[in-house]
C-alpha cells in the first residue's frame, strides 16, 4: 500500500514538473535568445546559449534605442497608473451614490453600467474613436477619460455588489456626528472598501497595461504604448526586423508584469478570480 502511494506521488510530481516546463519553456526560450546574436537566433532558436552566440546586452541596447522603448514604457505606465487611480476613486464614489440614493434615475443608471459590461469593444470601437477625435482625447491625458468611461461598467458593478452588503448604520452615525457626505465617504466607506478596491485596481491594471486596440485607434501619431510598439517592431514598423532586439523587447515588456505578480501574487489571483466569478 505504502509503495503504491509513493509511486503515485512520484507520478503526480513528474506530470506536474513536465507541465511546469511546458508552461514556462516559451518564456525561457525567449529570455535565452535575447542574449544571442541575431544570426544564431534565426539559425536555431532552441540551441543553448554558447560563448560564441552570447552577445551580452547588445540586443537590449539596439532594441531600446530603435523602438523608443523608454517613451512607450513611460506612456504605458502613466496611462495605466492614472487611469486606475481615476477609476478607483470616481467609480467607488458613483457606486456608493447609486446604492444609497434610491430613485428611478439611479436604478436606470445602474442597469446601464451592468449592460456596458457585456458589450464587446468592437461594438463601439469605430464610433468611440470618432467621438474621441472630436473631443481631442487622442493623447495620454485624454485617453484617461475613455478608460474611465469604458471601465466604469465592471468597476461600478463590483463596487455596488460590495457596498450593498455593508450596513448603513455606521454611515448614519457619522452623519449624526456632523460629517458631510464627502467626509462620510472618504473617512468611513472608502477604508471599508479596501479589499474590493484592490480587486478592481488589479483587474484594471491587467486590462489597461496589456490593452492594444483602444490606444491604437485613439492615440494620435507620436504616442505609443508598449503593446503597440511590440506589434510595430514585429511587423517591420521600425525598419528591417531585428530578431535580437525583438527578443529583448519581449523580455522587457514581460518583466514588469512578473514583478507586479511577485509583489502581489495572492491579491492578484484572488482579485482576478473574484472579478471573473462576479462578472
Amino acid at each position: 500500500m505504502k509503495v503504491k502511494r509513493s509511486a503515485s506521488k512520484t507520478l503526480t510530481y513528474t506530470v506536474l514538473i513536465i507541465m511546469v516546463l511546458v508552461c514556462v519553456a516559451p518564456l525561457l526560450i525567449i529570455l535565452m535568445n535575447s542574449f544571442k546574436g541575431k544570426l544564431f537566433i534565426s539559425d536555431d532558436l532552441f540551441a543553448f546559449l554558447t560563448p560564441q552566440s552570447f552577445v551580452g546586452g547588445a540586443n537590449y541596447v539596439s532594441g531600446v534605442t530603435k523602438m523608443n522603448f523608454v517613451g512607450a514604457f513611460g506612456t504605458s505606465l502613466f496611462v495605466t497608473v492614472a487611469s486606475v487611480i481615476l477609476i478607483v476613486f470616481l467609480c467607488s464614489m458613483t457606486a456608493w451614490y447609486l446604492v444609497r440614493v434610491k430613485n428611478k434615475f439611479t436604478s436606470v443608471l445602474f442597469y446601464l453600467f451592468v449592460f456596458a459590461m457585456i458589450v464587446p469593444f468592437q461594438m463601439v470601437m469605430f464610433t468611440m474613436s470618432w467621438v474621441s477625435n472630436r473631443l481631442s482625447l487622442g493623447n495620454p491625458v485624454g485617453i484617461l477619460v475613455l478608460y474611465l468611461g469604458f471601465g466604469a461598467g465592471l468597476s461600478v458593478f463590483i463596487f455596488t455588489g460590495f457596498l450593498k452588503s455593508i450596513p448603513i448604520d455606521i454611515e448614519e452615525a457619522a452623519i449624526i456626528d456632523g460629517c458631510t457626505p464627502m467626509q462620510v465617504f472618504f473617512k468611513v466607506v472608502f477604508p471599508i472598501m479596501r479589499p474590493t478596491i484592490i480587486t478592481v485596481a488589479i483587474l484594471d491594471v491587467m486590462w489597461i497595461w496589456n490593452d492594444y486596440l483602444l490606444p491604437l485607434i485613439v492615440l494620435d501619431t507620436g504616442y505609443t504604448t508598449l503593446p503597440i510598439a511590440i506589434q510595430k517592431i514585429f511587423t517591420g514598423g521600425y525598419g528591417a526586423v531585428d530578431m535580437g532586439g525583438l527578443m529583448a523587447m519581449l523580455v522587457l515588456s514581460i518583466i514588469p508584469i512578473i514583478i507586479f505578480y511577485l509583489a502581489a501574487q495572492k491579491h492578484i489571483i484572488e482579485g482576478v478570480v473574484a472579478g471573473a466569478v462576479k462578472g
Binding site: M93, A116, L137, F234
Partner: protein, 282 residues
C-alpha cells in the same frame, strides 16, 4: 442620509457619468444608428435600411460568415482543451502535496501576459519549430487554427485551474471518506462525488472560456494576423479589418459589430439564466 447625499450628485456621479457617456453611451447609440446608414466619415451618414447587414453576410469578399464559423469551431475546441487540462491540473494540485502553491503560482503566469506579447512569443516559437519541416504558420489554415488553440489554451488553463481548485476544495472531506468506506474506487469517487459537486465551477469555466475565446483579438492578430488569405480570421479581427483595412466598408463593418455584440449578449443572457436557475435549486 439619502436627502443630504442627493444634492452631491455633481461630485459623486457626474464625472463618471460624463466619461461613461463619451466612451460608451454615445458611441453605442451612434453605432446602432450607423449600422443602418451609408457613411464614410460619420457626419455624412444616410439611412439605408438593412443594406449593411446584407452586405456583411452575403458579399463574397466580406468573409464574415466564414469568420463566424471559424470562431465557433475555435471556441468549441478551446472549451474542451482548456477545461479538461485545467481540471486535471486542479485534481493533481488538490492532493495535499508539498509545493502545491508554487506550482499553482507558476501555472497562473501566462494569464497575466498581454495577448499581443504572448502572440508574438508563440509566433516566434511555433515558426521556429515548423521551420524544421519547411513550414510556417502561414502555410495553411489548419496550422494557424491549432497554433491559436495552443496559445489560447496555454494562456487560459492556469486561470480556470484556480477556479477548479477552489471548487474541489469546497467539497466536504467526509463525503469522500464516506464513499471510500462504502467501497467506492477512484473512478467512482470522481464521477459520483467530485464531478457532480464541482458542476458550478464547470459552468463558470465553460462560459468564461466561451466568451473569452469568442472575443479573441490580440492573439489572433499577433499569431496569424488572419492569414493565410484570411482563413484564420476570427470575428473580432474580421470587424477590425473591415473598418480599417478597406475603403467604403465602414457601414458593413458597423453592422458586423452590432451582430457581434448581439451574439455576445445572447451568450451572456444564457449564462445568467443558467446561473440563476442553479441558485434557485440550491
Amino acid at each position: 442620509m439619502q436627502k443630504s447625499l442627493t444634492k452631491y450628485f455633481p461630485a459623486f456621479v457626474l464625472p463618471t457619468l460624463a466619461a461613461f457617456s463619451i466612451a460608451f453611451l454615445v458611441p453605442f447609440v451612434m453605432g446602432i444608428v450607423l449600422s443602418f446608414s451609408d457613411f464614410t466619415i460619420v457626419t455624412d451618414a444616410r439611412f439605408n435600411g438593412f443594406d449593411n447587414y446584407v452586405r456583411a453576410f452575403t458579399d463574397p469578399s466580406s468573409n464574415f460568415v466564414y469568420a463566424l464559423g471559424f470562431t465557433a469551431l475555435f471556441t468549441v475546441v478551446s472549451i474542451i482543451t482548456v477545461n479538461i487540462l485545467a481540471f486535471l491540473l486542479a485534481m493533481l494540485l488538490t492532493r495535499g502535496l508539498k509545493g502545491t502553491n508554487l506550482f499553482r503560482g507558476v501555472f497562473f503566469v501566462p494569464n497575466l501576459i498581454g495577448g499581443i506579447v504572448l502572440g508574438y512569443v508563440w509566433n516566434t516559437i511555433l515558426n521556429a519549430i515548423l521551420s524544421n519541416f519547411d513550414l510556417t504558420l502561414m502555410y495553411s489554415a489548419n496550422l494557424g487554427f491549432w497554433g491559436l488553440i495552443i496559445v489560447n489554451s496555454w494562456q487560459m488553463i492556469g486561470y480556470m485551474m484556480i477556479i477548479y481548485i477552489a471548487g474541489i476544495q469546497n467539497i466536504p472531506g467526509d463525503l469522500k471518506e464516506a464513499a471510500a468506506i462504502d467501497g467506492a474506487n477512484k473512478r467512482q469517487t470522481l464521477f459520483r462525488i467530485t464531478l457532480p459537486l464541482v458542476m458550478p465551477s464547470i459552468t463558470i469555466c465553460t462560459f468564461l472560456t466561451l466568451t473569452n475565446s469568442f472575443k479573441l483579438f490580440d492573439q489572433n492578430l499577433a499569431l496569424t494576423g488572419g492569414g493565410p488569405s484570411n482563413m484564420t480570421e476570427m470575428l473580432a479581427l474580421n470587424i477590425y479589418h473591415t473598418f480599417y483595412g478597406r475603403n467604403g466598408w465602414s457601414g458593413p463593418g458597423q453592422a458586423k459589430a452590432v451582430v457581434f455584440f448581439a451574439l455576445v449578449g445572447v451568450i451572456a443572457l444564457i449564462q445568467l439564466r443558467i446561473t440563476r436557475s442553479k441558485e434557485v435549486e440550491n
